[in-house]
Symmetry: C2
Subunit: 600 residues, 2 copies
């Protein structure tokens, strides 16, 4: 891959090219500049590039020599490459390389990646693998150090744990520009020393604390306290008034538009119904499914969404370029088409649909008309990353039996169960009466109550938590997944124990992933052998498998949207109201384990 | 002095105060917030402060305890403390402490100081003294490392020289946040290795390169090359079109309004005649005379000037707060009234005159209604700083004789001479015919031609350059100054050799300064014993002396404005067209020494 030069290495070369004494490697000629510095469109602008950096913006005719490559931008807009300021690559279920392939064709030239998911499975080793991959591709990959691994250590068996020492060591690395989203905002607000020590380690390195503050207190004491602790940005903002409050308090609001959460519609109002300075507003994706990256795009899609909601195009582009660069203090290298910056540039066909004609990174054309032009070096994950299913015995249907407490001899029993809310992360804590059959409890399709199991796949002890869930409306079969936030244990739900065992065993065998089975037959399988989270296959293939999985959910009766996404949060024991981990049911209102049985 | 806490030291305390679990040290109550983050005025805002930092902005009633001091801001505006992004304290002829006293009463809470003048006299030692002074006062003093000391080593004897190694060592210090104005823009544009090595040393430390690019090329190759070399800001912009070009290229334009150069009127048009994003526009003072600090003010005056020129008040305040903080990447600590930032705050009576009612720094009230409230610790410069007149023999009138070349026997001779342009830094290179009297040349008042001498005061060799200058229109007497950019040698001009010797000897005796004499009598003396540039006396006294000097200039016949300022540039051998140093006349168009005599 072409070397990325630090500015300090090439100031002389840039001067020589700007003044015409040496010639540019590449000149983009005669486009309309989307000037994010001043918020203007400037016609008939050339950009001269040398050593991967911008030497001149203006009239570059004197920088063109015989060997200079010239790109005619007549009729096109020249804009800075798009930056995604908060993204979990693992959510796209592909490697960083494959992710990059998808997003570079859509104009993305830099991402700020939070490898929180792999960190929960493989710890520092996993983070290191993704960082290494990021170094081997043209996409400019910055990393934030996951701050909350595990999300909760008390209630489940986790794959890894990042100590203060681990985090502090990570923050020494140049590619790690900050701390990953500080989800433990209760810990911040309670002045918890272990949490504040992590903040301190970040601030003392002069790096960025990225925030996660979902509480809707519109500028009250909590938000003030959280920002006073150093959190510089936040992508968890779903109400306009909270967005306004955050920007007013000097926090960068990272307006999110991913596959799961789409906040642009609401948050855009903070800009369109006021006349505030928009410099603290950014756009991010957070999590995007592979098929959406292919069909909708990435930051181009999010910018387009912002424009659709009434934000002026140049402002929307600032929100995905300069503003994000300033948020992360990387504006000396990127965020605008200006002399000295990296030549990370997109050519756009128009400013309504933000159709990307060409993406340049480090002064090289990496994608044109939606097609990759550069070769990506193969990066393959080591075997250790693909051996994360520490479940060594094949599961039998009997393993899923839920017995009745000893001495209990009635015909029914009251239970606690989880009720999901379609496309919403929180759950309801419900109660129900289940019939007892042969001294055990089974799924009760008449009540839409399905058996749910979570198996530790990390420690080798393979402890299993069992419970019930309502809302998926399956009529047959079972599903299993190793994408199960945040510990990513093996999660299985189904209508019968035989299919549940088959689903679990299928994933154990392929190293993790997602599977749907019905009556002893695998309907669809999406193997994700890297940490049980990611595939090394091309994103198009993974996207196709995800579509097959979605289809198979429907086949077994599930009518809701993105059911795997909802399923992936059933174990997340930090969000209300009830969750199941490998250690059993957790009341996440009281943060106490509770029994499955109401009475015994 | 009260300790300034790093944010990392106090996040827990700020959280406890914001949430009301502990009480604030100070609460500013019920003011109208000038919110520079969003560009809004927000009424009825409180600010809670603890450990010198802002814990909460909003409703702070729950943070008020018995020991909490409360400031009623009803009817007042709460704004961030003003930041001067480019300032040579020495130009105010007082110590940093005295400078701070003057500016803090006018709402300034931080300065970015470039100790370029003292560096030319005392080198690293002098810089260190001013930095040390800055650490002993509440004003937040950041320093940039002078980049061009001496301005020219070939044409004059200088007091000090900063090598690449010196500069690199300086850049290691925390208080040095960047490189001082890179005046050697020809060296930058010529890809001069010694210059680019200095840029590299700065960039490799991730610090800011402050610029100095006066060429009026409105975005041409030169400006592009200069910015591509890493210069992040520039205070040398006198035309609107150059200001626009710089901002468009991502350079922070530091609009200057000092005693000597007043650029706000012209540059404001870049904002008032367009609708550009103003985030790259800042306000700075560069150089301000002591009397102006007292009578006009400091950043409050410059903000007022910007408002008078049509810039909206909030935008003007952003230009002296948030924008400058972002320029220097110090926005995590200051630049806005936001949680976590230092409580560097001004209370304003209105947004038209920007009348400062109170200045708070580090959470303490330092000035109120134009009066200092805090005690400033005495900092006295060491003797070594006050012994910079290495001229060990008393000068005699004969030392100023300008003889005629041997063998020359006509009655007149043609000479090269400097013609000054009132209040303009450049000079004209003129020719004239002088009568020869007793084999020597004298001042010729009939032609307004005065004798000019520059004596090395640094090396001990006390070499003297002699020549003539036109434009001061003296009718009697002589003046001398050790403020003579950039080497600050002893510069004397006068109508007769006796008064010139007296003027010179008066300054030699008092350790440097400014003096006006007439017919053997000292009319006015402004002793500047610290490096021959600064007084340790109170600024009011120094200002009074400056006024007396100005008056004395008039007494001896000079009608032009600020003549000492024009005189102070007569030796600056890097600005067109002709200059005199201790080594003789320098043609600063060709950068060659030239003879005084046209023919011999």
């Amino acid at each position: 891959m072409k070397k990325r030069y630090r500015l300090s290495e090439v100031t002389k070369q840039l001067v020589l090219v700007a003044s015409g004494k040496e010639k540019a490697d590449l000149v983009i000629q005669n486009g309309t500049l989307v000037n994010v510095n001043t918020g203007e469109l400037l016609p008939h602008v050339d950009v001269a590039i040398s050593h991967g950096r911008i030497a001149l913006v203006g009239d570059a005719s004197h920088t063109i020599g015989e060997a200079t490559k010239v790109i005619d931008a007549n009729g096109l807009y020249i804009a800075p490459g798009f930056i995604d300021g908060h993204i979990h690559v693992e959510s796209s279920m592909v490697t960083v390389k494959e992710y990059a392939k998808a997003v570079m064709t859509h104009g993305t030239t830099a991402i700020i990646m939070d490898p929180h998911e792999i960190a929960n499975v493989l710890g520092l080793e996993g983070i290191g693998m993704m960082i290494q991959e990021g170094k081997e591709i043209p996409l400019n990959v910055y990393t934030t150090m996951p701050s909350c691994v595990p999300a909760t250590a008390d209630f489940e068996t986790t794959g890894a744990q990042l100590s203060l020492r681990d985090i502090a060591a990570g923050l020494k690395q140049d590619t790690i520009i900050g701390l990953g989203e500080m989800m433990n905002y209760p810990g911040v607000l309670n002045a918890d020393s272990s949490v504040h020590n992590i903040l301190k380690a970040t601030l003392d390195r002069d790096k960025i604390i990225t925030g996660h503050y979902p509480a809707p207190d519109a500028g009250g004491a909590g938000l003030n306290a959280y920002i006073a602790s150093g959190a510089r940005c936040c992508h968890e903002t779903v109400r306009m008034e909270d967005a306004l409050a955050k920007m007013r308090l000097g926090m960068y609001v990272q307006v999110r538009e991913g596959s799961a959460w789409c906040d642009v519609k609401e948050i855009a109002k903070a800009l369109t119904t006021t006349s505030i300075d928009s410099r603290f507003a950014c756009l991010v994706s957070d999590d995007t499914h592979p098929d959406h990256l292919i069909t909708q795009g990435h930051m181009d899609h999010i910018i387009r969404r912002a424009i659709e909601e009434g934000i002026p195009p140049i402002t929307a582009i600032q929100m995905a370029t300069l503003n994000t660069a300033q948020c992360f203090s990387i504006d000396r290298d990127l965020g605008s088409v200006s002399p000295g910056k990296w030549a990370d540039i997109v050519l756009l066909e128009d400013l309504d649909t933000i159709k990307v004609a060409m993406t340049l990174i480090n002064g090289e054309c990496v994608a044109k008309d939606g097609k990759m032009l550069c070769e990506l070096y193969t990066s393959s994950y080591p075997d250790s990353a693909k051996q994360t299913m520490a479940i060594h015995e094949t599961l039998k249907p009997e393993d899923f039996i839920i017995p009745i407490p000893e001495g209990y001899n009635k015909e029914t029993i009251g239970i606690h169960l989880i009720e999901i809310i379609e496309t919403i992360a929180t759950t309801h804590h419900r109660e129900a009466i289940l019939p007892i059959k042969s001294g055990t409890l089974s799924s009760d399709l008449s009540q839409d109550i399905l058996k749910l199991a979570v198996i530790d796949r990390h420690s080798g002890l393979q402890t299993m938590g069992k419970g019930f869930v309502k809302g998926f409306k399956l009529t047959s079969g079972a599903v299993a997944s190793t994408v199960a936030h945040d510990a990513h244990n093996l999660c299985i739900l189904g209508t019968n124990d035989e299919d549940m065992a088959l689903a679990a065993n299928t994933l154990i065998e392929c190293g993790g992933g997602q599977v749907v089975v019905q009556n002893g037959v695998v309907l669809a399988l999406n193997p994700l052998p890297v940490a049980g989270l990611m595939s090394e296959d091309p994103i198009e293939i993974v996207a196709k498998r995800v579509a097959e999985i979605d289809e198979a959910w429907k086949t077994i009766g599930c009518p809701i949207a993105s059911p795997f996404m909802t399923m992936a949060l059933l174990s997340l024991a930090v969000i209300p109201e009830l969750r199941l981990t490998n250690k059993g049911l957790i009341d996440t209102n009281t943060f106490e384990p509770i029994s499955l049985y109401i009475e015994a």
